[in-house]
């Protein structure tokens, strides 16, 4: 019944000669998403910023949000900047409610997120 979480890693130019990692998620973000979120994060370079793309995510629950927080904890330890984009207005509200926006800014689309990094 749970839709598998898929994660793809993209590297894009930041427009200033640097690179940005984009983690593109699809499916559900729930308790079954540990490997897709945290496992994928362990493989990315810690020396460049990361954008989280939720534009193809269909469902997020509190267990999935907890995994996002764990990812932000790791990024925080590494001094790595993270921003997110593509969340629906509802999940932007939910992420704001739980305080995630204190540690990762939310943007409407990739261009706005990239410009912020």
């Amino acid at each position: 019944m749970q839709t598998e979480t898929k994660a793809n890693i993209d590297q894009i130019a930041d427009g200033n000669g640097g690179r940005v990692t984009v983690l593109r998620f699809s499916g559900d973000i729930s308790s079954g998403s540990h490997d897709a979120l945290l496992g994928t994060y362990t493989t990315v370079s810690k020396s460049q910023p990361v954008l989280l793309d939720f534009s193809k995510v269909e469902y997020i629950n509190s267990s999935g949000i907890a995994l996002v927080i764990q990812m932000l904890m790791e990024a925080n330890k590494n001094g790595q900047k993270i921003a997110a984009f593509g969340l629906t207005p509802h999940f932007q509200k939910v992420f704001t409610m739980v305080g995630i926006t204190k540690y990762a800014s939310l943007y409407q689309d990739e261009a706005a997120a990239k410009a912020s990094i």
């Binding site: 749970q2 764990q70 904890m73 925080n76 509802h90 739980v98």
Partner: protein
């Protein structure tokens, strides 16, 4: 808008992760028929999903032989939802999650479900069943309230 008053919708879902989406979908359909705006339906979907996840995981302890009961009762200006499980219920509602404590590992990264439920609906109460067997959460979402 369809008049569903006096005709509660009931369903039973297996105590298996992911089946909360069945309750979500049903609740969304009922709320749409009642004329709820899309933003409030999204609030309702998340609240019901979290209530069902708590019932599946903590109430019924993922026991596949037990079901979670969901009842959707339409009233004139609100939708009332009960989510019933076989667990003992909770003794007190946990405190509001603290993102700073979570980020510093001083608080479990999980444990946000009840906070989200309380934040997204107009009324939420956790009740131990009178016969000592089972417990339920009762949620009310009002039709006339705009989403934040």
């Amino acid at each position: 808008m369809v008049n569903l008053k006096g005709k509660p919708v009931e369903l039973r879902v297996p105590s298996r992760m992911g089946y909360e989406k069945v309750a979500m979908g049903t609740a969304a359909s009922v709320a749409k028929l009642m004329g709820f705006p899309d933003a409030r339906i999204e609030d309702l979907k998340t609240a019901i999903a979290e209530a069902c996840i708590n019932a599946i995981e903590h109430g019924n302890r993922l026991n596949d032989n037990l079901c979670v009961g969901v009842t959707l009762s339409a009233h004139d200006d609100s939708l009332e939802v009960t989510v019933l499980d076989d667990g003992a219920g909770i003794s007190k509602v946990p405190p509001k999650p603290d993102i700073d404590r979570k980020m510093h590992g001083e608080e479990d990264a999980r444990g946000m479900g009840m906070f989200l439920i309380q934040s997204l609906v107009d009324e939420a109460e956790w009740v131990k069943a009178g016969n000592g067997k089972g417990s339920y959460v009762r949620l009310v979402i009002r039709l006339d309230k705009e989403s934040d």
